[in-house]
Structures are given as C-alpha cells and as structure tokens.
Amino acid sequence: MPAPLRLSELDVWVRAEGKMQRDRALSILRSLHIIQITPPGKDKPQEMQLTTNFKNSLRLALEGGGKHSSFGVPSTLPVDARIDIAHLDGYARKKWEDILHYVVNSVPVHGEGLGGGSAGGPKTSVKDLLLAGRLVERRHDTRGGVGITQAGFTFLLQEANAQVWTLLLLWLEAADHSKTAEQAKGFSTEHKPDSIDMLSFLFMLASLELGRAYDTDALTETRRNMLPALVDFGLIYIPREDTRQYFPTRLATTLTSSASALRSVSSGFAAATTNTSNDAASLGLSSAAADPPPNNAPTTNKGSIIIETNYRLYAYTASPLQIAVLALFTQLNMRFAGMVTGRLTRDSIRRAIGFGITADQIIAYLAGHAHEQMVRAAAATGRPVLPPTVVDQIRLWQLENERMRTAAGFLFKDFDTPDEYAALSGYADEIGVLVWRNDRKKVFFASKFEQLRDYLKSRKKAE
C-alpha cells in the first residue's frame, strides 16, 4: 500500500453487516501502530495509511533485504553432521525437563522417591528466575531448599508453549529490572539488552528454520549476550567446539505458532524419543512435557492415564516428572516398572485445590493425557473421555471448599436521603466498585471508597 487509501473506498469492500468487524480490525491495527487514520476534516476525506516505520520494515522483510537480518543470517560454515533435528529435539527436551523437574521437585510432599533428579538441574540463573517469578520460593522444609507456589502449579499444568512464554516473560521482566537498577546506580547500561530488543530477537528466533545453523557473528553484541540464557532455557543450541554457529530448537521455532505447531512439538519429541530409545520413561516424559492442549487432542496423543468410574487411576509411565505432577492431586498407591496406580480422593483433590490448582485444570490435564484406550472406547460409545461421575465429583469437591466468598472493601450505610443513596450507589456501579447492594435497606458494599468520597463531597458542594 504505497499511497494512502480513502476510508470511503474501504467501505466499498465491506458488506453492511461486516461494519462491526471492520471497525474492530481498524482499531486493532491502529493500536498496534500499523496504520494511521487521518482525522476527519471538512475539505479532505478520511484516509488511512501504513505507518512509516511499519511500511519500511514490512517492505524490507518481504524483500529479505536490509542489514537488519530480520530472519537471521544462516551460517556459511560447515555443519557438524551429528547435529540433526533429532539431536536438537533431544537437547531441547532435556533442558526443558530439567527446569520442570526443578519446579516439581520443590513439592514438599510426594509419595514416590524421585531418584535425585535435582542433581543436574537447570543453571543457577534459571533457578533465580523461577524464584524471582515466584514459581518457587525459598523454604527450608524441602530437599532442594525451595518450595513450589500456586503460580508454580499453574505453570506445571500449562501446555509446553505457554510454559516457555511464561518463563521468557519472567526473563524479560528481570532484565528490565536489572537495567533500571543499574541506571539508577549510574552504571552504563549500553551493553544490556532492553526488553524490546529482546522481544524482537525472540520473534526473530521463532521465524528461523529448525535444523539449520545460523551465524552468531551476524548478531549485535547485546543479542549475543542473550545467547547463554537462551541456551540455558533450551531454546537454542550452540556446539561446544564451535561457538560461531547457533541452532534454534523446536522450542524456539514454535514460539509464535499456535496449537497446531505445538502438536508437532509433541509428535516431534515422541519421534525423537522413539529414535533414541524405546523405553516407556522417555515416552512418558514427552507426553508430560509437551502434550497438545486437551481440546484438540489428536489420535497421535501419547496419553497414558486411565481413570475408572471408581476413581482409580492407572498411569502407564515411568517418568518421574509425570508421576510428580500426578502426585499433586492423586493419592498414589503403588508403583511398578512403567506404571503407577492411585486414586482420586476427596483429600487429594482438596489438597491440590489448597495449592491453588483448580478443578478445571485437573480435569483438563486428565483429559489431555487420557490413554488411547480411553479415547477409543469413548469415541466408540459416543461418551466423554473421562467418566462423568469423576468429573462431577472433582468439581463438587472444589465447591465444598468455597463455602463462602469474601470481598474486602467498605460498607456504606446511614444515608440521609433515598436520593443520596441512589446517586452514590449508582455512581459506584458506574465506576465498577460496587460489590453488593440492598435497595430496600439502603446499604451497599464497595471495593474502594476514595472516588466515592470525592463524589459525595462534590455533590455536597453543588447543593
């Protein structure tokens, strides 16, 4: 779009019933600073055009030109033949599972011995990040000296892509903090990346091609400084003997894609694990670490959990990670080679809810990791995958805990006139602080009072 486009011309493209969608699309594009719309004037019709920056960058990107290397610079150096996609997948999986393990291992009570998985563990920088993001917190009653938080549980039950983003956002925040802190102390912060540059680097990574080597030297210095952290997360791989190349892993290349790509993560991981070893452990790991979200659970899903209507649960897995996640809300009874059995009980679910896990999260996890056999049986009989009695009961157990809802705030009472009550409660409703009202008794409850006080004062003055 080289020249500005008149809005009236745009209207010709849009059907009458699509007006709302058009307005919404325009406002989104405007808020993203992709287009500009001239203000309405008498002599000139309204026009819209791409913002200069976006126009230039888009053109540059389409042509693949410029010195910004928006899609990375492939390395011209010879590539080690051992570094193939399977190798990268294995590497990314190992790194990411180390992180998940670290979070899981911080659970204070778990039924099974987890086999000292914390020995390797993620780098200290990653641990600090998890601490700073309050996914775990320092505690003395656990083996690792840290304990999991509510946010940590939510994190564990997320799908892989969401987990990666959660961690990356924490990282961006942390980087911003340290930068402002150093600026405050008067240090030079030129070599420190700012979060905008970091974010655009991440987007660039996401557009790279899996299994290809890229040139480290083509990156700016600040971006090169980011590489070690990304290596720690498992987003990129740098060969030890040759640091002039970096390889994006599947975790990085699927950053900006949606669930369909995530499925390829999981199937890719599954493929990688079948290549290297066939034991149940790694299969279980792949399903725990990188399963697609339950709503589009494909038939290729490596599910492993069977639940019976009597609340018994069997999981065909030897993965400490998945077992630990299950132990969050299941009472595990026995462990065999490649399988654990347990039950969902009122206590186990209540404990999980006490940790901050919701019933819906548990149900979604179970459905997403249901064994093939369950999915097949359900499809054959046209019933839901999980036994409805179990699903309902999990929800009921959650409701039990919510016997009362609380809201802190202020009770307004003893109004002089009905008018005063109507005006103030109406105003409270308008500004969104009204929690509860009783028109008969002329009392209401609001979450904040400052604005209401000011409103009342100005009302008094007006009278």
Partner: protein
C-alpha cells in the same frame, strides 16, 4: 450522615451464615453488620480465624463417604 465502614463482605449459604452468627454470639467480635440471609460484613482481621473455625466446625458435622474403599 452517611458512613463508610471498612470490612469484608461475605457471601454464603444461610446455613453457613447461621454458623458464623453463632460464632459471633460468644464475644461479638466478628460481625460488623448482618445484611441479609446470605450476606454479612465482618472485621477484616477476623476473616482468617473465621475460615479456620468454619473448617473445623464443618469437619465435625460433615463427613462425606469416600466413594469406595480400596481393595488393594
């Protein structure tokens, strides 16, 4: 003159409310205002205590059957 009182609004079933009213009847140190069948305003610092008391109380009266005992 209108008054604003700091507190915590509690919304619950009438049965739970009557238990809370019962707790309050001992020292009158919990409830600020009894609003209606299902609503109460209580003192902010008592919410935690109240929750604990309620949990204990419900444990006494409410013993749900575990669906099935394990044969294992």
């Amino acid at each position: 003159m209108v008054r604003a009182i700091r507190g915590v609004l509690i919304e619950c079933e009438p049965a739970i409310k009557s238990i809370i009213v019962h707790f309050d009847s001992v020292n009158n140190d919990i409830i600020i205002e009894d609003l209606d069948e299902t609503h109460l305003v209580v003192k902010e610092n008592m919410v935690h205590v109240l929750k604990q008391k309620l949990e204990e109380r419900l444990k006494e009266t409410y013993r749900p059957e575990e669906p099935l005992q394990d044969s294992e």
